[in-house]
């Protein structure tokens, strides 16, 4: 299930074969994610319709926000087209920074360019003080009428930080379902000193030593020593019930250009019973979610879900529940320390300045409208075998040093392949009698590879990274030539972990498995350059 292969299969009927080949080449290497968005102080958003793409070939009529002006794309510079006026789902991620003292504001001017029959629209900013101007009075806030605008002035106090959601406050059961939601990231006013010392300092050196650019938005999610991070990703979870979207589309087509507010110029879409068939991360279903940010085949779904990390990096997860269902998001590979809920840091009652009190979770349940921030890492500590498959023989390749720091990790040489190796297991074999150039005498005997079926994200050996993989099983890995390879033994050979909804039926796309809320997270050795530039 290489994402590009899957995509080409599905798109077969829609694309010319010649184009197919080019697309397959273009998107095989997409490996980037981070937390893209727009930054500014006066955002102009427009609610408007468009069709979003699903991997079963369906184009679903939806409503979303476009960023028309007032936002500069970050962290991708010119690569991003985030404020180019295209409707997008989720809406543009609004990235703002808390002021050093007092409070600051940013404005969101919302224009309603939905079809007239859709009526008014608005945006709620839960957790923020909001002043409104323009528009008309609505149930929860002031609303924009079709063709008109409303402006929200949102106050950001110096103490604010973290991830938040925003979404439509008008006929929400329909408008949120149709796609009118997004996220706000508030960067803290100050960086705790802890973020520029210790492993954060050496992790940054390691990124530099391996020619990687850092794409984090800030060194810390909150002004707290426990909230420092080295890399970050945002995941927004939502669903689509295609019947609701089809009904809305049909009614709008039937009503044509009716005059808003006149009798009969309104929608009557049944939003219950609710039977979603598409389950999305950042507006895309698997495997589309693992293609690049701003990939041209998803003009209205610019954000991906394709996390990568190196051993020992502290990775900030910004997890947002959109839509209307809860989703138990299961992170394979380790636990997540929950830092905060809706931008509220969870601190120890007795030592709030230094200690956190959020839970450690391997399944982070998303709740509609709720955002949480958490820290994840992977180091391989406690595996009881050397994940790098080092060779004990100093005369052979694959022999390396591991100098434990005070925590037991090899962090002295940021340029080493095995930077952040867990030294207690250094040189410790897993295989009893390996054929390749790795240490032997371990506890496990691997059976004949012919009785396996190898997955596309299998790096080809039990070991981490191309060096160890090629030494242990050769450059093709154990995957037969007929197999699909999305995690090349010679280029990446990462440890792949599935990050997915554990309400397992949600990892399907309209009754097709695999699909839905599913991503592969890759832990890559330092040999693989993680490039989040698109």
């Amino acid at each position: 299930m290489n994402p590009s292969t899957k995509k080409t299969t599905i798109s077969m009927t829609r694309l010319l074969p010649a184009v197919l080949v080019v697309l397959a080449l273009l998107f095989t290497r997409a490996a980037n994610a981070a937390a893209p968005g727009v930054t500014g102080t006066a955002f102009h958003l427009t609610a408007k319709p468009a069709f979003v793409s699903q991997p079963d070939g369906n184009a679903v009529y939806s409503w979303g926000y476009s960023c028309d002006s007032g936002g500069s794309p970050i962290p991708f510079g010119a690569a991003g087209t985030a404020c180019g006026g295209a409707m997008q789902i989720p809406g543009p991620t609004l990235i703002v920074t808390a002021p050093a003292s007092g409070s600051a504001t940013f404005t969101v001017t919302l224009t309603d360019s939905l079809p007239p029959a859709a009526g008014n629209t608005s945006i709620l900013f839960p957790g923020f003080q909001v002043a409104t101007s323009g528009g008309v009075a609505g149930l929860l806030t002031r609303e924009a009428q079709p063709g008109s605008s409303v402006t929200y002035t949102v106050t950001v106090p110096s103490t604010a930080a973290g991830t938040h959601s925003y979404y439509s406050g008008t006929q929400s059961d329909l408008q949120v379902e149709m796609g009118l939601y997004g996220a706000i990231i508030v960067l803290p006013s100050a960086t705790p000193p802890a973020c520029s010392s210790g492993i954060h300092s050496t992790n940054l050196l390691a990124q530099g030593a391996h020619s990687e650019t850092n794409f984090r938005l800030a060194p810390a999610a909150y002004n707290h020593p426990g909230a420092c991070y080295d890399r970050e990703y945002i995941f927004q979870f939502s669903e689509i019930d295609p019947r609701i979207h089809r009904q809305a589309e049909e009614q709008i087509l039937a009503l044509g250009n009716c005059v808003a507010g006149t009798a009969g110029c309104s929608l009557s879409v049944a939003t219950e019973p609710y039977v979603p068939a598409y389950f999305m991360v950042n507006g895309r279903s698997m495997p589309d979610d693992m293609d690049a940010n701003y990939a041209p085949e998803y003009p209205h779904q610019p954000y991906n879900g394709n996390p990568h990390m190196h051993p020992g990096e502290l990775v900030l997860l910004r997890i947002v529940g959109q839509g209307r269902w809860q989703h138990p998001f299961h992170e394979h590979g380790n636990h997540v320390r929950i830092l905060a809920r809706d931008g509220n840091l969870i601190r120890s009652a007795t030592d709030p300045a230094n200690n956190l009190a959020g839970p450690l979770l391997f399944t982070t349940t998303t709740t509609p409208g709720m955002a949480m921030d958490g820290i994840f890492y992977w180091t391989g500590k406690g595996l009881n075998w050397d994940a790098f498959g080092h060779n004990t023989d100093p005369n052979k390749t694959g022999h390396a040093d591991c100098f434990p720091d005070g925590n037991g990790y090899n962090t002295g040489d940021p340029g080493a392949i095995n930077y952040f190796e867990w030294c207690q297991d250094h040189n410790k074999p897993v295989q009893a009698a390996p054929v390749g150039n790795v240490a032997s005498g371990g506890p496990a005997t691997l059976p004949d590879p012919n009785i396996f079926a190898n997955g596309p994200w299998f790096g080809g050996s039990p070991y981490l990274g191309p060096d160890a993989t090629v030494r242990s099983v050769g450059s093709t890995g154990t995957t037969p030539p007929s197999g699909t390879i999305a995690n090349s033994p010679t280029e990446e050979a990462g440890f792949a972990f599935m990050w997915h909804s554990h309400n397992e039926r949600e990892i399907t796309t309209n009754n097709i498995f695999p699909g839905g809320m599913l991503m592969m997270m890759l832990v890559d050795s330092r040999e693989f350059k993680i490039d989040e530039s698109n």
Binding site: M1, G226, L314, Q326, H332, G333, H335, V336, R337, S348, A349, N354, N355, L356, P359, L360, F362, T365, F376, G380, K381, G382, A387, P404, N407, Q424, N427, K428, V435, N437, P443, A444, T445, P447, D448, P449, I451, F452, A453, G455, P456, F458, P462, L464, V473, G474, S475, T478, N487, A496, F497, M498, N503, E504, E506, T508, N510, F513, P514, M520
Partner: protein, 543 residues
Amino acid sequence: MAIRKLHQVYLLTLVVAFGALAARAQSFQIQCPASTITHPTAANNNAEPAYVGATYTGTTGYGTQPAHVNGAIKCQQISGGDGFATMGDGTQTYLFAFGPLSGLADIANGLPGTGFPKDFNSLPPGTLMPGDPATANGLTANTWPSYPLPTGAFGWNGAVGLAPDTDCLADPVCAATIPANGLDGHVDPRSVMDVGVMNGNMPAPLMAIDEDDEFFLTLTNVGQVMRPDLFEQHTVHFHGYPNASAFYDGVPDASVAINIGGSFTYYYLAPDAGTYFWHCHITPPEHLQMGMVGQIYVRPRQNRWSGALYSGLQAQQNDLRTKCDRASDILCSNPLPAVPAAGPDASNDGTKKYAYNDGDGSTRYDVEYPLQIHGFDPNFHFVGMTFNPEGFTDMKDKYFLLNGRSYPDTVTPGPLMTQTTDGLVHFSQPLSSIVNIPAGGKALLRIADLDVTEYQTLASLGIPMHVVGYNAKLLRDQAGNNLDYYTNSITLAGGESLDVILDASDTTKYPSGSTFYLYTPNLDHLSNDAENFGGLMTEVHIN
């Protein structure tokens, strides 16, 4: 240089190719070494040694002599295949399922099927017959006595299929490399198939290991006789395992999956203590819904410590692997308690049991019970028995299960049996859900939810629920303050686990002979398909 490297690669490819050819033709096999480089003395690996100090101290590690060898070796074998279970309304439901292929007697008695090498590597007392352990127990299929089923006479917990490797013994060169009794992991596939086919259990076989153990879990894929159109692989995903390797994580997309007719041995060093669970990761919405879900828990080294728990936890700080320092590890949950505790629970004599390395005795219990929450959609299971593709969008659970059973089966002691399409009666649901608490005692409920469609709530009528752990982690903040809490209900998604202690130490409120209830306030889940009373409910008995 480049050319030499290339040659090495070619050579390696050849070696790999020949290696594949030279591999023994046998694809069923088991692994349970009596000793390893981590546990080098075979005689010490058949019981849990007391924990007296760190394995490695300071920054020392492999290659140097450990200060103490902690833990032991544990092994288990399971089948991946199919079977039938009996629902609370009497319906026989088709399963994709794991079944026990070791520890049969323990599994039939509702215990973990995990064993030390000496037990796992023991030969069966007689010839195993189809449908075992029933037939081997002197029972004739279809003539079962009433509940509870007697399993007493059958005490064998070895690995099904284990047999001397006679081919190797006949060759002196080969014989020199294996134990004198010829037990090198070679299996007789006939007995594996005789016992394993149509022998699926719901829940999947229970597993339990101790911290510092090495665990060898062999999955043997016996195929699904009811679905000859399928060639389903199976895997084991050890859910929640921190710092897992992708190779042993059981995700077929990211690793290897085991074809029919093959065995694969997963190798783990026990992770931090806690309530975990495991499941097949092939097409999860299908294989989980169909029943390939089980429980595993890891017991803390504090159980093996004698003395004040606080000093026991201090001893664990000397090993960087078992240390919990919030400044260097944001993902550890059991720093030294902020307030050292006193009292009998706060020190161990090596016999007391705790859910976590708490250092203060706050998670002590007398008895532990796994409680797995699950749901079955009868339509999906019916279609799953046919050759038609199942739909996922309309999946709707109508049986709500605690340990694979609906009320009133939840309060049936002993294993449930189901007659399957091979005409034989199999142990289908080994785990009763009755929580028996000794008068004045505390029960630890290790609750896991594997439902694939919706959240489920379990409430306690009578004894308050004391939540001490969540997602296999102690509830404690980084400063060492316990964050445990009391509640009358807990809500879990599929893919979550939680530790609840039912404290019945007040014998006035909870006298001997009294009965309390665990049930779901999701009232539509108190049903067994069309029967409107049943479902997610069981009893707590004070003995």
